[in-house]
């Protein structure tokens, strides 16, 4: 179970004066169960890239393989693919439409043609999984707060029991508390269900604490693709493409420069805390 892209190119508005490449020669492989952060500036091609993963967009050239099969090949069942590769779009407003939250979450599994009992069971499980309160189950999704709407949207995709969950900027427009809640939720889904997660963001701080691997996109190309600590080593280059390493990296670099004996490559808050405490204990 893995997603692989082989030399994928995608050109927007082909044949017009507005034509411009959104993806240039992208090749990568995402093995099963990995927690990946996909980072890029606005317009770097990250949203276009994730739409290739579940076949919403067809590459201009190149191949997208799921479990070794070409998803754009003839006779490939895209509906099945979309159940396996769940994609949650940035704005929950783009997908919520039912009169109450529960029905809305039922929409995905119902489209899979499951029996009604199974549909409702899945919807219930999914809403529970995202930590949604029972009392809101039968409320209109339009009356919810931004964070709650996002939970319903995520549940709506989770109810299809995907093997891969892709989230497009799930924290955009949320306050710090809502942001942390959603990120913790995603991390928990990865731990408890063992599904592959691709988290799209433009903020390193969002992903640094959670992911095992970071893919940095810049102008349609993969700029870096490595473990977080290796990627953050290029913090100067990251700044040049309009991104930044997480704040922790800067603090640790400054501390190291000031002569403290800390590992300047600590990437998560937890690691940084331990490093700093280690220094204090020595004193």
């Amino acid at each position: 179970m893995s997603i692989a892209l082989s030399h994928v190119n995608y050109i927007y508005d082909e044949d017009t004066a507005m034509a411009h490449p959104a993806l240039i020669d992208v090749s990568l492989e995402i093995p099963n169960g990995q927690f990946v952060g996909l980072i890029g500036h606005t317009g770097s091609g990250k949203s276009t890239l994730i739409q290739h993963f579940n076949g919403l967009v067809k590459p201009t050239s190149g191949y997208v393989l799921f479990d070794g099969e070409d998803i754009n090949g003839e006779g490939y069942d895209k509906k099945k693919l979309r159940a396996k590769v769940g994609l949650v779009f940035q704005y929950p407003e783009h997908q919520l439409f039912e009169t109450d939250c529960f029905k809305d979450v039922c929409f995905g599994p119902k489209n899979l043609g499951l029996p009604e009992k199974e549909v409702e069971l899945r919807a219930y499980e999914a809403l529970k999984m995202v930590g949604f309160d029972d009392e809101y189950f039968y409320q209109s999704p339009f009356d919810l707060s931004g964070g709650q709407k996002r939970r319903v949207a995520i549940a709506g995709v989770l109810a299809m029991k995907p093997e891969v969950l892709i989230l497009d900027e799930p924290t955009a427009g949320l306050d710090p508390k809502g942001r942390e809640d959603i990120l913790n939720l995603v991390a928990r889904l990865h731990e408890e269900m063992g599904i592959t997660i691709i988290l799209v963001s433009h903020s390193m701080d969002d992903v640094a604490d959670y992911v095992q691997r970071i893919i940095v996109m810049n102008k349609g190309r993969v700029a870096y693709d490595d473990e977080p600590r290796n990627v953050f080593r290029y913090y100067k280059e990251l700044e040049e493409i309009g991104l930044a390493a997480p704040q922790v990296t800067y603090v640790m670099k400054e501390l190291a420069a000031a002569g403290f004996d800390v590992d300047s490559e600590a990437t998560t808050l937890e690691e940084a805390k331990n490093e700093i405490l280690k220094v204090f204990k020595k004193c």
Binding site: T16, A17, L56, V88, F89, Y91, H94, F107, G108
Partner: protein, 266 residues
């Protein structure tokens, strides 16, 4: 799919037609449409085609892009053809059962098809080369005299510009919503008519909500900048006729005269 609808879109590029005063383009388009109904013979249509072809060439908009928009009106064309071809009385040429084709029918059909195609291309060329803002300014100025008759010209122009402005936005939004629902295995392509209409609910509800929200936001933004209609409102870029606009008017008049002459002579 949705990107194929080019009517009402603006095509950003540099050309003489783009630089023309919007009033010139409005008047020309209007006159061109009238001329299509004046034309009554092959020469008239050839002249219209020539005029349109020249305008397209000068506008730097690729013909391919314009023709892509024609796909959207294919259905309309089809109906026109069917109705005119089979339901026009005249000398019967072919008769199969109750269906008959007459010489008059063929004549009218060919005429209507060309008229429609030219009409759509002509008016979409105007929107392709004029930004919605320019278009509104032009419209307001052209219709200005009607204010005397208490026609709310400014309001009409404003409404039109807002409507035009929202077409691409809502189109993009539709695309996104469609994708979001397709990611949940929504099906927009199969089933019978009733099934399909039902399947559109997950698309239309978010679209309507978003449209209302946008309208509300826009009203708020206008209100907070003290918008109060057209009276006493000044323009940052008032429309001023340049030399090229005069030349354009001259060409237009020559075209119209030629069209009338051709229609009368032949």
């Amino acid at each position: 799919m949705l990107r194929d609808i080019t009517i009402g879109q603006y095509y950003r590029t540099e050309s003489v037609i783009h630089r023309l005063d919007p009033r010139v383009k409005l008047v020309s388009t209007f006159m061109f449409i009238i001329s299509l109904f004046v034309a009554d013979n092959v020469f008239g249509y050839a002249l219209a085609a020539l005029f349109l072809g020249m305008a397209i060439k000068l506008s730097n908009v690729p013909l391919k892009f314009i023709l892509r928009g024609m796909k959207a009106i294919f259905f309309l064309l089809f109906i026109t053809v069917v109705f005119n071809l089979f339901l026009t009385p005249g000398n019967e040429l072919v008769k199969v059962g109750f269906i008959k084709i007459t010489d008059e029918g063929i004549r009218i059909t060919v005429k209507m098809v060309f008229r429609l195609i030219f009409l759509i291309i002509g008016s979409s060329l105007m929107t392709l080369t004029t930004t919605p803002n320019q278009l509104t300014d032009g419209l307001e100025s052209v219709l200005g005299p009607l204010k005397v008759l208490r026609v709310p010209v400014h309001e009409i122009a404003m409404m039109m510009s807002i409507a035009l402005r929202f077409i691409p936005i809502l189109m993009e939004e539709t695309d996104k919503i469609m994708k979001a629902q397709m990611a949940r295995d929504a099906d927009f392509e199969s089933g019978n008519l009733i099934q399909r209409a039902k399947n559109l609910v997950p698309l239309l509800v978010p679209l309507f909500i978003s449209a209302f929200r946008r309208a509300n936001d826009l009203a708020m933004a206008m209100e907070s900048r003290c918008y109060r209609g057209g009276d006493g409102r000044t323009k940052m870029k008032p429309l001023i006729y340049k030399k090229r606009d005069g030349i354009a008017y001259l060409i237009l008049v020559l075209y119209l005269v030629a069209m009338v002459v051709l229609t009368i002579l032949f």
